[in-house]
Each structure stands twice: as structure tokens, then as C-alpha cells.
Symmetry: C2
């Protein structure tokens, strides 16, 4: 048999397995669906966005980039209770992961940005975060010849705009999908991908009601829910959630349900970052959302399942940023 | 002619050109020598060091990594006058580039660390920088199972030590060499690699005496020199340079001569970061070190030559860091 025939056969077999798995998943009506790697529509746009995502010059003082608080080496978070901003400002809320954030119903814990593009402009101009303004940030980029050339190649115009900046960052963020978790492999039919403990944890996760909110491809991210359904959630955090956007008292303490993909990497947990470990987070969720108490053994099983949701992490070369020019404003981080 | 023959011929021709260029360079007795990519002796050690270099958990508050101030996306510097440390502390000195730093006679502007390994431990334990202690940093790493396994694979021991940590970081930093600058190509015989202006700038650089200090493969980095030879250098910086190490009054304001490789990327310039542009830096150096005044045209030529020293920037995948465990101490960046 010649080589091309072997390859063809392999393709047919692989396709059969794939369609059988998908059919299987569909038949099972699982509340969570596997995710696939992002297909980039415009690689040049995403590549420009990657540079911007890593560029601290988008902040007024040249030190904080998107990657500072949504660190792609660390699950797309900063692994802090709440984030550090300009002048070591204490942020009001836990930094959510950027991984798979394109699947969310909206952005920020309170959903105040309708999509990633709308989100990207927020931290740049937030005085406690990157502390710049859109005009300043665009002015910096406009002073950097290699950026101007790259924006022109991508957008066809000589003038950089904040609309282009946020569009590019969003396009990069849309690539940050994490397929191939062990759980997804299991969903797709590889029954050895999860051990008995992890499978038992998934059963508990479903049977206990966690899937009521944590479902869909992102295992969350697709609804707002009250933090403290069965009993009030006690916290010193002043964040009130969705009501800040809708103005409705009924929306107080309603937050976007976070994705649980890569949850092993995105500690600490909740909008206030008060749960340091997955064990704590599972116990608190069971208590305040479900009126339930897991035994230590049950908790460990759920945690084991949650750890199977870690997918392929972002894989790309560290971007090299174009140098400033003589006309780029010099950052003055210590000016009073 | 069969393919192998063509290849052999190509190899012979290439080898001839290479040896001719080397001979040419040697004959010319140029004060600057081309650099070659680093040969990594122990890739697993350098790989571990790369993770540590990007890991903000080496700082007490989980936000600042080696890469924060020696950013490999930005010429191995932070492009700030002086660096931002813990609690937005204003650093006392400009952050020197880590690129090609393995070629330096010693580390830090005052040479107080004899090598990269000795340097790496400094910022971790500096209260105004990463604000940790060696014990704390090692304790954090020891609490992270995947790090413990990686240290064991590399060093063969169960216990992580600060000696291993700094050895790994230094091994990674040794890989950060930037070959193939246009100037190096020109040195090696590619006479089209520099334009007429850049060649004129190099001639000025030699004829004016810049090469007295900026020479060798790193175009500097190999001696200490007084800042302000011909006339005093005026600055508000309190850094006194080499005398802080030797205790000798004669060493006051003696600083390690910085490498000029990638100088286009390592703005602002001098130990106090007071020269914002290469134009400023060249003018000041001419004035206080050489008692000279370049015309604008001469200055532009020297700057054009300096920009030809930008080599291949670091090229590797963004490292993915192992997650903390339930026993890892939680950073408390805002605790009073």
C-alpha cells in the first residue's frame, strides 16, 4: 500500500471517531460542551493586538500592560485578591481571566462592557489601573513609527484611533481559547482521559446543581446570578455587581458567573478574591448558592473534576515591541 | 549535478566567505567584534531559569518579576528613568539591559555583583524592588509541586535553594545574546549592511574617542569609567558608582560603561536615565567625556551608527508558570 492510501485511511478512521464522539456527546446531552481552538479571521490584526496587550506604554506611566493583571503565563489572571494599579492602587475587584473570555455574555464582573472591544478601553483610562486617557494612549502609539506602519498595514489609515486599538486587542484576546482539556477529551469519547475520582466529581457537580449556572462551553460566563442565593454572602468588598449597570435594586450582588475553564490556574476565587483555594471556593459555593455541605471526600472529588478543565495554554512567542521615538512622551511615574 | 553536490559546493563557498570575513575583521583590527548566538550548555537549567525570570511570585507581593524591569519585549529594560519597585517605590538608578549582560565585567552599574548569578539574588531581597527575602522566595517555590519536580530534574535534589534559583536565572540570562545586528554583518564583510551615513557615524565614533570605553564584543561593559572626565556631570541622582563598592574616594562617579548593543531600544540613557534620546546621550557624552561638540549632522551620523547595533531580539515562547498549591503563601500587596 502506498503512503497516500495509508494517510487517507487514517483520515477516514479519525473522522469516524470524531463524528461518533460528537454524536455521543450530543446523545448524552451533557450540560458542558468541548471547545475548539480559535480560528483567527485576521492574523495581522491579532498580531498587532498581541503587541498592544503586552505594551506598558498604553498606561500613563509606562509600567502596566494588559498582561500585568491578565498575565498569560498565569492563567490570564494576576493571582491576586484584587489587582494592583497605578501608584500601587488597590483595585476594587478580582481580575477575571482573559482566557476564553470571548465566550462570555458580556465583559467585567458586572457585564458593563458588551464585548471584548468595549472592555479593552476601560482599564487604559481607569485612573486606578493604567491611569491614561484614550487620547494620551493613542498619542503615544502615533509617535512610534513602527506602530503607525503596522496600524496602516492592518487598517489602511495613517492615523491611529482608539477604535482600532481596542479592535486589535479584542482580536488577540479572541485567540485565547484553551482547548484539549482532559475533561473535553473525555466529553469527546476518550473515556480514559478522566480517572474514577474526576468522573465522580463531575457527577457530583451535575447532581448538586453547580451546572445550573456553570454550563455551556465556558462552564459559566453566560449568565448573571446572585452571589448568595440561599444565604447572604459575607464580604468586605464594596462591589455590588449588576445593579451598578442596570440601576435596579433587584440586581444587587448579581455578578457574571465566571468561567471555570482553567480554574486551577485562576486563584484566588470570587469577585472579591476571598476564596484562596478551590476547596474553599467549592465549600462556599455549596453553602451560599446551594444550601449544601459537601463532605471532605466529596469536595475533593469536585476539585479533582475542576482541575481536569485546564486546557492548552496560550502558545506564542513573546512579542517584541517597537521602540519609542524621540517625540514619544516620556513616562513620569514619580512626578507629583 | 546532484543535490548533495550543490549543497557541498554551497557549504564550501559559505565557509570561504566566512573565513575571508573573519580574516578581514582581524586584519582591520576593529575595536568592536561581532557576537554569536549563545550556546546553551544546559537547556533544562535555562528553561527553568526562564520561568523564574517571568515569575512575579519571586517578589513578596506577587506582582513584580525580573521581566518587569528587564522587559524582554523592550530591549531588556523598562524604558523608565529609574525603575518602579514594591509599593511604587522610586528606584535609585536606571535599569540596565539584561541583553548581552553575560559579557559584562561585573553586574549592576557599580559592579557590586561579580556575575549574573550573584546579581540575580539582589532585586529579590531589595525592599524597594521585589521586597522579598531569599527564604520567603524559596519557600514559595518549594510549595509549588511542579517547580519542586523541575528543580529535582535539573539539580537532583528535593529541596529548592536560593543558590539553585539564581543559578537557573543566570543560565537563562546567558542565553540573551543578540547576534546579527547590521553592524555585525558589516564587520563580517557584508559591506552593504551599513549605508554611507552609518559608516561615517562609525568612523566618527572611532575618531572621536568613543571607542576608548565602548569597545569589545559588547561595545562597552568591560570597564569602569568616571562619568564626567572633562567636565563634571550634573545630576540630581545620588548614585556615586564604584566607590560604594571599593570605599575609595577616587572611585566616586565611576560607573560600569554600559553596552551599546541594542541601544536604540534601551532608552532613556545613563545611570540616572536623564538622557531621553540618543541625540541627547551622544551630545552629553561628547561634552563631559571628550570635551567635544558634534554638529547636528555629526550627531545624526553617530546615532545612525548606534542604531545599527540592534541585533536579533530574544525569541522564545512565553513561559507558562506552574500554579501555586493550597499551601503557597498568599501575597498580601495591600496589607498595612
Amino acid at each position: 500500500m502506498s503512503k497516500p492510501c495509508i494517510l487517507s485511511l487514517a483520515v477516514v478512521v479519525a473522522a469516524s471517531i470524531a463524528s461518533a464522539s460528537l454524536a455521543n456527546a450530543a446523545n448524552n446531552k451533557e450540560p458542558i460542551q468541548p471547545i475548539a481552538a480559535a480560528k483567527t479571521q485576521n492574523p495581522a490584526l491579532a498580531e498587532l493586538g498581541k503587541k498592544l496587550y503586552f505594551d506598558p506604554r498604553l498606561s500613563r506611566y509606562g509600567f502596566i500592560s494588559c498582561n500585568s493583571c491578565h498575565n498569560l503565563s498565569m492563567g490570564g489572571t494576576d493571582n491576586l485578591k484584587t489587582s494592583i494599579g497605578h501608584n500601587w492602587n488597590q483595585g476594587p475587584i478580582n481580575s477575571p481571566t482573559v482566557l476564553n473570555s470571548s465566550m462570555s455574555v458580556a465583559q467585567f464582573w458586572d457585564g458593563r462592557a458588551k464585548d471584548l472591544k468595549a472592555q479593552a478601553g476601560g482599564p487604559i483610562a481607569n485612573p486606578g489601573e493604567m491611569a491614561s486617557t484614550h487620547d494620551l494612549a493613542v498619542g503615544v502609539l502615533q509617535s512610534i513609527p513602527a506602530y503607525v506602519a503596522e496600524f496602516k498595514a492592518v487598517f489602511g489609515a495613517d492615523k491611529v484611533t482608539i477604535d482600532e486599538v481596542t479592535k486589535a486587542i479584542a482580536a488577540f484576546e479572541e485567540t485565547l481559547v484553551t482547548p484539549n482539556s482532559r475533561f473535553d477529551k473525555w466529553l469527546k469519547g476518550d473515556k480514559k482521559a478522566l480517572n474514577v475520582n474526576e468522573q465522580a466529581g463531575y457527577k457530583l457537580f451535575k447532581d448538586s446543581g453547580c451546572v445550573a449556572c456553570h454550563n455551556g462551553p465556558a462552564v459559566g460566563g453566560n449568565s448573571y446570578q446572585k452571589m448568595g442565593v440561599v444565604e447572604p454572602y459575607k464580604t468586605t468588598s464594596k462591589a455590588e455587581g449588576r445593579s451598578a449597570v442596570t440601576g435596579k435594586d433587584a440586581d444587587r450582588f448579581n455578578f457574571k458567573v465566571p468561567t471555570l475553564r482553567n480554574v486551577e490556574l485562576t486563584y484566588p476565587y470570587f469577585h472579591d478574591g476571598e476564596a484562596a483555594t478551590l476547596k474553599d471556593a467549592v465549600n462556599t459555593m455549596a453553602k451560599v448558592q446551594l444550601g449544601k455541605k459537601f463532605t471532605d471526600e466529596e469536595n475533593a472529588k469536585v476539585v479533582a473534576f475542576l482541575k481536569s478543565l485546564t486546557g492548552d495554554q496560550p502558545s506564542f512567542k513573546l512579542p517584541i515591541l517597537p521602540p519609542s521615538s524621540d517625540s514619544t512622551p516620556q513616562p513620569q511615574p514619580f512626578k507629583k
